[in-house]
């Protein structure tokens, strides 16, 4: 045991080596070198993204073709085409474009930026705190407010842009949740170096597309998936091509704190701030349609997804407790005895 301890402490000390000679320049957001290029099994290029891609991740592209990642090697991934999806029918026949997301009454959207320094500039360069992504957030806020939606926008800073940025922005999400928002958006920008992939002509104007990101590592995944699909379905009706796709990636992205949370990538670092602002102004329309949809007014249709999330939480907890007790008691009989003793003590 002593040897293990010594090795472990040495390993910890090795971790600190990179702290010496550390480059102080902060990156400006997702970096080009982190891009993953995704191809299908016939080696046709499908998409690229500056988020990590892992086996099991899914992608629904602009035309609603679904892909699943089956292999990842370095910066290249292979995906399997699963075919065209019907965004709404796949989540349940009861979902239509007319079903609202929230109850009747005041509609609130919360906006924040985990990576405050992201800008429409090729990096890495130093950004002093607030990048251009905040201006995109302002444009979205203004456009939503014009449609009668209350917007709570946080200007909190979460820099440095390191691995713990999401840890810091969780505090902001917790604050925003106190305002009881119907929707929470974390605005980012992508880092793929091909601007043509993000640009689109809509109503005679060049805009940069928006990619929706759903975290796969959290109990709200199902509800957020439904939310993302409904949002894209509405956007496809209003402004085809505005939504570039939905990426289902490994990660939490603070989406576990509250349901109806999405990470949005507005363009990439080689598109412009103006193009991102133009897309934010259009994006307000499907968001508003989803919140104010005319039929029903209850939002109850989501309950299947919600209950499956609840079962997921309780199931994982139950299995975890059972494994723990089995290891420690060595038999199912022992587990039973321990549970009995626990309930006797707690319920007496």
């Amino acid at each position: 045991m002593k040897r293990i301890k010594v090795f472990f402490v040495l390993f910890c000390l090795l971790l600190y080596l990179p702290l010496y000679g550390q480059n102080n320049s902060e990156i400006i957001g997702h970096r080009e070198e982190d891009i993953c290029w995704v191809y299908d099994q016939e080696d046709n290029y499908i998409f690229a993204i500056a988020l990590a891609v892992n086996v099991g991740d899914k992608y629904i592209d602009e035309d609603n073709i679904e892909y699943e990642i089956i292999e990842v090697g370095g910066n290249k991934a292979i995906c399997k085409k699963k075919g065209k999806v019907d965004l709404l029918a796949d989540i349940g026949p009861e979902f239509t474009l007319q079903i609202p997301l929230a109850k009747e009454g005041k509609k609130t959207v919360a906006i924040y930026h985990t990576h405050n320094d992201e800008s429409y500039l090729p990096g890495p360069v130093n950004i002093d705190g607030v990048g251009e992504i905040h201006e995109v957030g302002d444009a979205l806020k203004e456009a939503l407010e014009k449609k009668g939606i209350t917007v709570v926008k946080s200007e909190n800073l979460h820099l440095p842009h390191d691995g713990a940025a999401y840890e810091r922005s969780r505090g902001t999400v917790a604050d925003l949740v106190q305002e009881e928002p119907d929707i929470i958006f974390d605005l980012h920008r992508d880092a793929i170096p091909r601007k043509d992939e993000y640009l689109k002509e809509i109503n005679g104007k060049t805009i940069s597309q928006i990619r929706l990101v759903v975290g796969r590592q959290n109990p709200n995944q199902k509800v957020n998936d439904q939310f993302a699909r409904r949002l894209k379905a509405l956007a496809d009706e209003e402004y085809p091509g505005l939504i570039k796709g939905i990426f289902y990636g490994k990660g939490v992205y603070n989406q576990h704190v509250a349901p109806h949370s999405l990470l949005l990538e507005f363009g990439t670092h080689v598109t412009t701030k103006e193009q991102a602002i133009a897309s934010a102004q259009l994006f307000a329309e499907p968001v508003s349609k989803l919140l104010f949809a005319s039929k029903g007014g209850t939002g109850q249709k989501e309950n299947a997804g919600i209950f499956s999330s609840i079962i997921w939480i309780l199931g994982v907890t139950g299995i975890g407790v059972l494994i723990y007790l089995l290891i420690n008691e060595g038999s199912l009989g022992g587990v039973g005895k321990r549970l009995k003793a626990f309930f006797r003590k707690e319920l007496k």
């Binding site: 971790l15 691995g163 713990a164 999401y166 505090g171 990660g251």
Partner: protein, 210 residues
């Protein structure tokens, strides 16, 4: 928000706080005082204390101050001087490890890691604390104060003007990494401790308390 959404949030929180309650039970606290601490953490989550205005430094009462005070209490109640020293070393190493991990994997949280940082920081804190101190108490202190120490390293960088930002310690209240780290660290110590004891057919050593 619909009723279903509220129910989902409440159930998630209840499961999490249930785990936190079991953890507090292991830290010289009675059942009732553990519940009181949880209630205080929930209520305290709504309040921040401003420590410094420029660059902004705040501490959330539920997510920062109460876990900090609880750690101090647990530290004072430690069995021996040796345990206290081991705990302090574990706290320092945990803080540094979190800082190092956040720099090495600067794109954490984007799925480029094996496990989400929310759990990884807590697990590394728990492992370091358990292997050094082999006690649930040391694990709790290293998990919570280690993360707080990491926050202070970041604040030092803000003070030097290297980065323009702000720091809100424990800002996520009961969902903050300070609490998650402490809870996970104890659960890990419990899991490792009891499993090791079972594998070795008895007590795993001097740290096998409680």
């Amino acid at each position: 928000m619909t009723t279903g959404i509220i129910l989902l949030m409440i159930i998630g929180l209840l499961v999490y706080l249930g785990a936190a309650h079991r953890v507090l039970d292991r830290l010289y606290l009675t059942d009732k005082s553990a519940l009181l601490i949880i209630a205080l953490m929930i209520i305290g989550s709504f309040f921040d204390l401003t420590i410094k205005r420029n660059p902004l430094l705040t501490i959330n009462i539920g997510g920062g101050l109460i876990p900090l005070l609880l750690s101090v209490y647990v530290f004072i109640k430690a069995d021996s001087r040796k345990e206290r020293i081991r705990t302090l070393v574990a706290v320092f190493l945990t803080g540094l490890a979190i800082y190092a991990i956040s720099i090495i994997f600067s794109d954490f949280g984007h799925g480029r890691d094996i496990i989400d940082p929310m759990y990884l920081y807590a697990i590394s804190g728990g492992l370091i604390a358990y292997l050094l101190g082999r006690s649930r108490r040391a694990s709790f202190i290293a998990g919570t104060i280690g993360f707080l120490l990491y926050n202070l390293f970041i604040y030092y960088r803000l003070l030097t003007g290297e980065i323009r930002s702000q720091l809100r310690i424990g800002g996520a209240g009961v969902y903050d990494s300070i609490i998650i780290s402490g809870v996970l660290a104890v659960l890990l110590a419990e899991f490792l401790g009891e499993s090791l004891e079972r594998l070795t057919g008895g007590h795993s050593g001097k740290g096998g308390e409680e």
